[in-house]
Subunit: 158 residues, 2 copies
DNA sequence: CGCACATGACACCTTGGTTGTCATGTCTGA
DNA sequence: TCAGACATGACAACCAAGGTGTCATGTGCG
């Protein structure tokens, strides 16, 4: 039967259900941002700076344009966030052997401490989401979101 | 065993994995927004207006404050979107038998056509996501996102 | 070498969304 | 029954996230 819940969906059912996901992602994103806003400022971190620090924490040193591409943000915006972070001493630039103008950005000790502390607090908050979510649920969720992301990957920014 | 993949997670594992979800939602949201813009060249419908039309399409006529509460948005913002939609003839207000000042907002034929067409185009785009996603995957995804949204809902607005 | 392209810097704009305030309308209870 | 608490609409000020445009400089490649 076409509606077997554990076999891949056809295009029609798929798009209808993905539409539901889509309708949740927007509000979720914006509300999460607001929530982060009320946690992060304690350390003086804007959402953008937070994103930059988190990226560097996970991927190590990167150039500004690399970060922009990784997060689908304009390079100019990322640059602004990096400058702001640098002004607070959370981040520093190291010469890039591969490009004189485009230096590598890396976390300072202070920056690493700040983002680690912030993530810890966010986790603490998320742990209250509770409910009856299973590991499988979240794995499936990640699968879906990742697929959508892959599909959208070919968009050009900048 | 604590890590049984089909039993509810404890707070620690839960928050760690939900953190992963969060990190995907941002880029996904931004990419999707751009993709929709380029694929379905918005006939002048801002995200806010789109949300209002979608709400009315799903729930029938509502008052402005009702919509605000339904979406955890400030009533003033919803009002602005409704006014904008009304100015374009997508929506009209009917007298509310239960309240003289707060009229019921409902879709016009034009509004219904516009939102239906938009949703159809979005669906068409999403149908290309393809992959091997099952109905169960998406259901789980919706469960996760809904839980997160509910959790964030207790931010009081207005 | 020359030319297309990537990068940094900086200014300006748009959009989603909130907060505040005021006047008017509605409901409830002593 | 009527006073005060609360809901609504209207309008304005404000904010943060993020994009766009442009210019000068640097880099890589045919």
């Amino acid at each position: 039967m076409v509606t077997d819940s554990d076999s891949p969906l056809g295009p029609d059912e798929l798009s209808a259900r993905l539409g539901e996901v889509f309708d949740l992602v927007g509000p979720l994103y914006r509300r999460a941002q607001r929530k982060v806003e009320q946690y992060a400022p304690l350390q003086g971190l804007s959402v953008g700076v937070r994103a930059v620090l988190a990226l560097l924490r996970e991927h190590g040193s990167m150039t500004v344009p690399q970060m922009g591409r990784a997060q689908a943000l304009s390079r100019q915006f990322v640059q602004r966030m990096v400058n702001e972070a640098a002004a607070r001493g959370l981040v520093e630039s190291a010469p890039n052997p591969a490009h004189k103008r485009s230096s590598l950005i890396r976390l300072t000790g202070e920056g690493a401490a700040a983002i680690t502390a912030l993530v810890a607090r966010e986790r603490e908050m998320l742990s209250q989401v509770g409910g009856d979510l299973t590991d499988d649920d979240i794995t499936a969720c990640l699968r879906v979101l990742t697929r959508m992301l892959e599909f959208l990957d070919d968009i050009d920014v900048d």
